[in-house]
């Protein structure tokens, strides 16, 4: 039983390389769905496995075994580690819950601040302009959804480039990308390996919006130029930006620009079905293993309670 529960905990480590391939090979909108669904399944599997490990450890304690009306000791493949692994699982769950709460509060505060900011300003169509020397633009989800842009961003782009920016943000709102992003955030706090998948999901959302914007203005090169120009306007402002990524890696913005310049809408890559299938397999395996593990655990508890035969 315990062995089966290790699968959902180990499988997420296999997924980040697959997710990075999916970014490149799948159509952005498809990648967004596949990656988000896989992240949900893997996060759920990981949580279930940790929960079952915690319960196993708890039922090894005599007091709780009596409370659970166990008349036989609970069977586990390795009794010696049941309690330590339960303690470790509790630790992981507590850390996850803590970072998740912190992140949720921060996101909620940011969205609230942005809404408050938007509410105090006139809105033309769906556009809210903030008079600010800092170039910035984002899609503000909600009812009604808004596109929030600072004057510095407006001024750093030409008229046609501004259309790209608006189309990009409108695509985020129309596609309800904030749900995908929130799900990715949630998953990232359930298992450390899913943080890399969150990065992939963010990238897929941006690429999906880029493709929608390029289609809306009918010019991929124009879309690429608008993104590059906006990024340079933002980047030039903060040369002291802390170095998070190793210098050799390419950030998401140049990759988005390059993908748009690379040519017509990406046709399905030859490897795309395989990568999607592998991701689905990982997700299904994680979910399946955790459910089977849970069922087996339940059976073991019943055996220990003397209600079921071995």
């Amino acid at each position: 039983m315990t062995v089966l529960l290790l699968f959902p905990l180990l499988l997420p480590f296999v997924v980040p390389p697959l997710a990075r391939r999916a970014e490149r090979c799948l159509a952005p909108a498809a990648a967004l769905w596949v990656l988000t669904l896989a992240a949900v399944a893997l996060a759920g599997g990981s949580l279930t496995a940790l929960g079952a490990l915690v319960l196993t450890g708890l039922l090894k304690l005599p007091v709780l075994a009596a409370f659970g009306e166990l008349i036989h000791p609970l069977r586990t493949p390795w009794d010696a580690v049941a309690v330590p692994s339960a303690a470790a699982s509790v630790g992981l769950l507590v850390v996850g819950a803590w970072t998740l709460t912190r992140s949720a509060l921060r996101q909620a505060r940011a969205v609230r601040a942005a809404h408050a900011e938007a509410a105090r300003r006139p809105v033309a169509g769906d556009l809210c302009v903030i008079d600010s020397p800092y170039p910035d633009a984002f899609a503000l989800p909600g009812r009604p959804a808004r596109v929030v842009v600072t004057t510095a961003m407006i001024r750093s782009l030409g008229p046609t480039e501004r259309e790209v920016l608006f189309a990009h943000e409108r695509a985020h709102n129309a596609g309800r990308h904030h749900y995908f992003l929130a799900t990715a955030e949630l998953a990232a706090h359930c298992h450390p390996a899913l943080r890399a998948v969150r990065t992939s999901i963010r990238f897929a959302a941006e690429r999906a919006a880029d493709e929608a914007a390029a289609a809306a203005v009918g010019d991929r090169r124009l879309a690429a130029r608008a993104i590059a120009r906006a990024a340079l306007a933002v980047g030039a402002r903060r040369p002291e930006r802390p170095v998070v990524a190793p210098a050799a890696t390419t950030g998401p913005v140049p990759r988005r620009v390059a993908a748009l310049l690379a040519g017509p809408p990406p046709r399905a890559h030859r490897a795309a079905p395989w990568i999607a299938a592998l991701l689905a397999l990982c997700a299904t395996a994680a979910a399946g293993a955790s459910v089977t593990g849970l069922v087996a655990f339940h059976h073991d508890v019943e055996v220990a309670q003397g209600e079921a035969a071995h």
Binding site: S103, Q107, A110, A114, E117, R120, P122, V123, A124, G125, D126, L127, V129, I130, D131, S132, Y134, D136, A137, F138, A139, L140, V147, M153, I154, P159, T160, R162, E163, L165, F166, H168, H177, H178, L181, A182, A184, R198, E206, R221, A224, I227, A228, R229, A230, A231, L232, V234, R238, R241, V243, V244, A247, T250, G251, P252, V253, P254, A258, L261
Partner: protein, 123 residues
Amino acid sequence: MANAKDERRSAGELEAGVLATLWAADRPLTPAEVQAGLAHDPARTTVTTTLTRLYEKGIVDRRRQGRGYAYFPVQDAPGLRALRMHSELDQDADRETVLARFVEGLGPDDERLLRGLLESEER
């Protein structure tokens, strides 16, 4: 039905485009100048109607210029200017996943790469 919806949406998009054009300029613009600054070249009357609607909503202001008006965006009260926005949002822009930003922070090599891409594009 779908048509009315499309029309309403494009009217909203035109309002957004017109307001952005006014903000991008550093002086009041006549309807003709606004029209010239818009990407998809709508009819002059449509632009004028949109400007009037924005004026009635109090989003833009206007002053007489020649036989018509020149329009400019209504400025925020100085105290309101993005102070809170940039104390709360900007510090940690990369970490607010849910607010999908147009562009996120550039890494150390990104700027060079982007300039390279832009240059090869403009040649």
